[in-house]
Subunit: 401 residues, 2 copies
């Protein structure tokens, strides 16, 4: 899968690469605001950086395809997001810092409330507290035992958790049990392929035992599986690109994705200011820095245009501090668009800028969706971003003589 | 490899296509000169052509990948440069007009100087003269005999030569013996895959015999192999595209690449003026003309910005003469960028223009890296250039009904 380009051309260097990823960065214009979130935001530092950079438009997966967080980030890191689509269960397990091994199968679950007939009346069990979740997970850990496999039961937040099945011959090809609508009974964990029959049977057995453990709970008396996935093992960024990579992020999901690629992860960061401090603190120790900013996506998901604008501006305000560190290559972009107008992830292209001493500076002087169309990078797939960064960092040899 | 597009759609026509390839055309701005080489160059004829043409940006291999001359040209001729990566040995042999057969294995070598302990003290044997090279090759031809294979020993220029091994079951997967640094002993020709064991053994035997022949030479007393490669046989442009193609070039390398694709090669051209004369002379005999201009790359490699500008201008000056011939499709571009700023090949996109009666003329009026961003061809991979040329030449049928 990673046989040829750029992997086979990687050469050692001491250059440092920064990927500043504003989650859900791309937007859409709303008439009353007079442009897209980026167009409306006052970002003198991003604009100044664009003026010194090569700009372009980045398509996360393929035109028209809206990425989830996993594929969005995998693409940005040079892992073909179509070939390496990772299951949500694996992402979630990695996101809470669970060390997945070899061929573990992970599945997300929700605690839910069912009525006496077993119909789901609340798919989130009234959003029980995380403490309640932890108590219930402990109960299940004591009571649930499956033949032939190890089982790990991990609380996430509120009503959400992860189960990891560890053993030989497991498969992630098991259907969700969440019926997606209240009033329906949970679905059976069905094997989507014949090889998944045993894993499906284990999931069924798990649910049966959990139902007994949870029988007397007033709210969380059932669980619903969503997103079985097998850990297929990803080659690290060190193996592929020779990069000592570090992830500087606050949210578990993004730390988890970084961990799947064997990046180091700085723990316990609470906000973007702390991320910038961490960047300075660890500048000497790494050569690839993934700095993740979450709130552009969150505010986009909220459909809150003015707050997404403010989120962008808050990053811009810290940009001089970030750029006071001498990175050889600076990339600013996102993992996908989250236009406030749509209040969801979308397929729209992302603006991207890349600054390096040997980049082809173009005529773009504003960092936004429409200006970057005129950039020298043109439109490209996010999976090619890493090649561009490595090239500008002097980390790729010539292809062929 | 060439099953589908455009090959399966090729239809006969009498139209004529010109590819004017300025080697290493793309550049980077240097502040003191006020732009890129193309932006600074005064090119009224290229600009006028751009005004009548479709323009765009061409990525040679993939974003961020710097091509060697072989892959760079293969892409331009519609041969996927990733799938058809050819070894330097094969290129070099073809480049000196050696007719490679079936499954020949070719390897480049340098004459070198070793001390009494066998350590390399000059990897180029003091750049001996070509005459000296020819004399030594003749000595080796008389003395060296390998069991079971034919061997051809060909001088190139100065200290460089090519050995071609002809026989059954040979492999190009043999490692270089050039240690790349002086003070080290030559490496052993190691088989990179088990199937190459015999070829590696033949190479070792060759070196052992050569060492004896060269023992008393004051400078060229050893040889170092660089770039073993097997001739895998490429389908000709006639087979693939129905084109009677001719290469009009001065440098062996480019004539060699053309020969690998079974283009006719006009011999003994000394400069670009002679190339233009040859173009006129052979206009009636061919329908695809590859005209190669070397000096944009040479001056770029030298890091000489003003001279690269002059090289571009010298082509522009002859453009009216070239365009006095009625080509149905005129393409001007390069095989890769060679910015004087970097004094090397680079990954940066190339400007490209295509003029034909049915091209979509855009608003681009300057032929340079930044103007062509706005062209109607957008950004595309060089391997698609040939399809565009064939289409505009009325040489491709509709795909599907």
């Amino acid at each position: 899968m990673y046989a040829e380009l750029p992997d086979s051309l990687v050469t050692a260097n001491t250059t440092k690469i920064l990927f500043l990823i504003l989650d859900g960065l791309g937007g859409l214009a709303i008439d009353e605001f007079g442009g897209t979130e980026l167009q409306v935001a006052c970002c003198p530092h991003l604009d100044s950086l664009a003026t010194q950079a090569s700009c372009g438009l980045m398509t996360p997966i393929a035109p028209g395809i809206t990425p989830g967080s996993g594929p969005g980030h995998f693409g940005v890191f040079g892992y073909d997001p179509v070939k390496t689509n990772i299951g949500r269960g694996v992402q979630e397990a990695a996101g809470i810092g669970f060390s997945l091994k070899g061929s573990d199968v992970a599945a997300r679950f929700n605690f839910a409330t069912v009525d006496r007939e077993g119909r789901v009346i609340d798919r989130r069990a009234g959003r029980i507290s995380t403490e309640e979740n932890i108590r219930l997970c402990n109960l299940m850990r004591q009571a649930i035992h499956l033949g032939g496999v190890e089982v790990f039961i991990e609380p996430v937040k509120e009503h959400r958790g992860v189960v990891v099945f560890r053993g030989e011959g497991l498969s992630g090809e098991v259907e969700d049990t969440d019926p997606q609508k209240e009033g329906l009974k949970p679905l059976d964990p069905v094997a989507a392929v014949p090889e998944a029959a045993r894993t499906a049977a284990l999931a069924r057995e798990f649910i049966d035992q959990a139902r007994i453990v949870l029988a007397d709970e007033p709210r969380a008396n059932m669980l619903l599986f969503r997103g079985f996935a097998k850990n297929t093992g990803f080659p690290s960024m060190k193996e592929r690109f020779g990069l000592n990579a570090v992830a500087i992020a606050t949210y578990p999901m993004y730390k988890g994705i970084a961990q799947l690629l064997s990046m180091s992860v700085i723990p316990d960061l609470k906000n973007f200011e702390e991320e910038v401090e961490a960047l300075k603190k660890y500048y000497d120790q790494y050569d690839f820095f993934f700095v993740h900013f979450k709130y552009t996506d969150s505010r986009g998901e909220d459909g809150n245009f003015p707050e997404k604008v403010k989120a962008i501006e808050s990053v811009d305000a810290l940009l001089p501090e970030i750029l006071s560190l001498p990175f050889d290559v600076v990339v600013v972009s996102g993992d996908h668009s989250t236009p406030a107008k749509m209040a969801s992830h979308s397929w729209h292209e992302l603006p991207v800028l890349l600054r390096a001493s040997n980049c082809r500076v173009d005529t773009v002087t504003r960092f936004d969706e429409l200006s970057c169309i005129h950039g020298s990078l043109g439109r490209f797939l996010s999976k090619d971003l890493m090649s561009l960064a490595l090239a500008h960092a002097g980390r790729l040899e010539k292809f062929g003589a």
